[in-house]
């Protein structure tokens, strides 16, 4: 019930409303621009939030994340280039619709489905987050460490093509987080006598480096390989409007997608791309017109779009209740909480409950904002994006990364960290390592270490404490089972591929 006073409070605050609308526009443009991601935009804007009130900063970045997820569909449908990984599923049916002169219709289906999915996710978050926080309060260090362990394994193994590289990325993130003074004994680790290193590697410069500068390096690579120009597909008179009769068959797919996205969103690391493809596959399996899917079915746009956006709200649940970010955007938002001295975890609901519900309210209003802008102006946004000169945009982003990294703490060391992190981020992308696993593990590492060592102290040095306590054991099994399923899946895929080759 806390959400209603929070909604009222946000609606009556003109500056917050302005932040929400601005964030909806920024997110949509960023999400729709191929090569730019909401994560990069949020990371770049992160230092600016030092100078804002916590709720303004959080609402602004949270809505950019939401709107950015939706914005990806604009590029997927209109330009045949998914703006985000998640919108690649939307592209399968969205682009054929656009080619058939129904770009406007497809965009409207994507917008309505995104609103449905996102609102479903947020409502489930509001209902469930209090329960999760209450349970989280009862967990001891061994259980919390087991959750961290499961998160590391799931994040490292499930995202990306290679389990080994995913897990290696997660371990690299942990090792980088270990640089500096040990928070318990104050012993120096990996400092090599440097005063700057004894303060550790900052979250903000690392994020800006990996997501912003790393992306600029990657774009330089992409620009050399790109050969064709991006063109917008125009709608015919009939292809621009959407009737209730046309959307009616899409509704069950949007609702199912919403539940799939919300379920996947709660699990750390899985993300919206997986949700979108599962929802698409499930939708196609149940569809009456399955033969039309892939050739331009409106339902094929509704199913992935709803799931993709439904991930957004529930992915905040592990972040707010356990301090475990479920996505890269969650990891960056954790940075905002830390910048403003707000401790994320189960106690957040005791100390800053009002702030949390206000954030949820901002998220819901953000959905309405991007929904309205998208429904009536998606094609105008697309035209705007086509006018953005990327050869000017990326140099400006390059320059912004340096001044943004410096602004966070006024530290030149942070700028150096950002520069190296940028190059490392590009190398990781180039060699198919998992950037998301690296960053999320970096964020999780300190908390995991603290709970691990507290557990060892509780058991006087024995690691059996993680096996003797049933909840801890259950989470460790969940992590290992996720890894085993992933290995099984890959082996199966390889066997099929080998079989296919032999058949050929």
């Amino acid at each position: 019930m806390e959400i209603f006073p929070a909604l009222l409070s946000v609606i009556t605050d003109p500056t917050l409303l302005f932040a929400i609308v601005l964030a909806a526009v920024v997110g949509m443009v960023v999400g729709a621009t191929p090569g730019l991601t909401a994560s990069a935009a949020i990371a770049m804007l992160l230092p600016i939030t030092f100078y804002m009130s916590p709720i303004f900063a959080l609402a602004f970045l949270y809505v950019i994340g939401k709107s950015g997820r939706y914005g990806g569909s604009i590029a997927a449908i209109l330009f045949n280039t998914p703006g985000t990984a998640a919108s690649a599923a939307t592209q399968i049916d969205g682009y054929p619709l656009a080619r058939a002169g129904k770009a406007g219709k497809a965009m409207k289906v994507a917008t309505i489905s995104s609103i449905i999915g996102d609102l479903m996710g947020d409502i489930l978050l509001v209902i469930g987050v209090g329960f999760i926080a209450a349970i989280a309060l009862k967990l001891g260090p061994p259980e919390t460490f087991a959750i961290y362990f499961a998160a590391f394994v799931v994040i490292g193994s499930v995202i990306g093509n290679s389990i080994v590289k995913g897990l290696a990325s997660a371990l690299l993130g942990i090792l980088i987080a270990m640089v500096g003074l040990d928070p318990i004994s104050s012993e120096e680790r990996y400092t090599f006598g440097s005063f700057d290193l004894s303060n550790g590697v900052g979250l903000v410069p690392l994020m800006i480096g990996v997501f912003v500068l790393g992306e600029v390096f990657a774009q330089l690579d992409t620009r050399r390989k790109a050969t064709d120009e991006t063109e917008e597909n125009e709608s015919t008179e009939d292809g621009n409007s959407l009737t209730w009769e046309e959307y009616k068959p899409c509704l069950p797919h949007a609702l199912r997608g919403g539940f799939i996205g919300a379920g996947i969103g709660v699990l750390p690391g899985l993300g919206s791309a997986i949700a979108a493809f599962i929802s698409y596959g499930e939708g196609k399996r149940r569809a009456k017109n399955a033969e039309m899917w892939g050739k331009g079915a409106l339902e094929g746009v509704a199913a992935p779009e709803a799931a993709n956006n439904a991930v957004s709200g529930p992915s905040m649940a592990p972040l707010l209740t356990l301090g475990i970010p479920g996505s890269t955007i969650g990891a960056i938002l954790l940075g905002v909480f830390l910048i403003h001295g707000i401790q994320v975890g189960p106690t957040l609901f005791l100390t800053d409950k009002e702030l949390v519900y206000k954030l949820f309210a901002c998220g819901m209003l953000g959905i309405l904002a991007y929904g309205l802008i998208g429904y009536f102006g998606a094609t105008q946004v697309a035209r705007l994006i086509l006018k953005i000169p990327t050869n000017v945009l990326y140099p400006l982003i390059f320059l912004t990364a340096f001044v943004a990294a410096y602004s966070a703490r006024g530290s030149m060391f942070d700028v150096t960290v950002m520069t190296f992190a940028g190059f490392a981020g590009w190398l990781m992308r180039k060699y198919d390592f998992n950037v998301a696993a690296f960053v999320i593990s970096f964020v999780l590492a300190k908390g995991a270490e603290e709970t691990f060592r507290q557990s060892l102290l509780m058991s006087e040095g024995g690691a059996m404490i993680f096996v003797e306590r049933p909840i801890a054991l259950a989470f460790i099994i969940v992590g290992l089972a996720a890894l085993a399923f992933r290995i099984r899946g890959i082996v199966k895929e390889r066997r099929i591929a080998r079989g296919g080759l032999e058949d050929a």
């Binding site: 600016i48 100078y51 080994v164 590289k165 897990l167 290696a168 371990l171 690299l172 942990i174 090792l175 270990m178 040990d182 318990i184 004994s185 012993e187 120096e188 680790r189 990996y190 500068l213 600029v216 390096f217 330089l220 690579d221 620009r223 050399r224 390989k225 990327t390 050869n391 000017v392 990326y394 140099p395 400006l396 390059f398 320059l399 912004t400 340096f402 001044v403 943004a404 410096y406 602004s407 006024g410 030149m412 700028v415 150096t416 950002m418 520069t419 940028g422 190059f423 590009w426 060699y431 590492a445 995991a448 270490e449 691990f452 060592r453 060892l456 102290l457 040095g461």
Partner: protein
């Protein structure tokens, strides 16, 4: 070949991390060792690099890349060197002068050929970034130890 290189680089990183963790002093009685997590993580990374090397031996042929790839890589390494010089120049010359030089260089790397545009970037980029971050947001600008254009302008 690429898989071998990746495995070897990871192995080297993990050995370095193991050595670094080993430098952490032993714990005081009743405490836990501060190096336990970095040591465990480095050990796990070493194991993974072993798996990668093992996988590399099973691969029959490696991808060698092409001229376009190596051209792009060289360009990115060039941009990285510019980034390193640019950030180091903040310490020597403050923010304005390095940005005035870096802006047209980076724009030209990304294909901007308009002379007027490049000339404008020399003035506009440092001016706009300075106004946003150091005037509007109130961040204290980095001071150039050798020469600071901002101090010179301000007299």
């Amino acid at each position: 070949m690429r898989a071998y290189t990746e495995g070897l680089v990871l192995a080297l990183i993990s050995l370095f991390a193991l050595w670094g963790a080993w430098q952490v002093p032993a714990p005081s009685p009743g405490d836990t060792w501060a190096g336990i997590v970095p040591f465990s993580a480095a050990l796990a990374l070493l194991a993974l690099s072993g798996v990668m090397l093992l996988g590399a031996t099973r691969q029959t042929a490696g991808d060698t890349g092409n001229d376009q790839d190596s051209g792009a890589t060289l360009q990115i390494i060039g941009l990285f060197i510019i980034a390193l010089v640019y950030q180091q120049s903040f310490r020597w010359f403050g923010y304005l002068l390095p940005t005035a030089i870096a802006a047209p260089v980076v724009l030209s790397i990304f294909g901007v050929r308009s002379r007027i545009g490049l000339a404008l970037s020399v003035v506009l980029c440092p001016l706009i970034f300075h106004l946003i971050f150091f005037v509007l947001l109130g961040v204290f600008p980095p001071y150039g130890e050798v020469f600071d254009l901002l101090s010179w302008i301000q007299g």
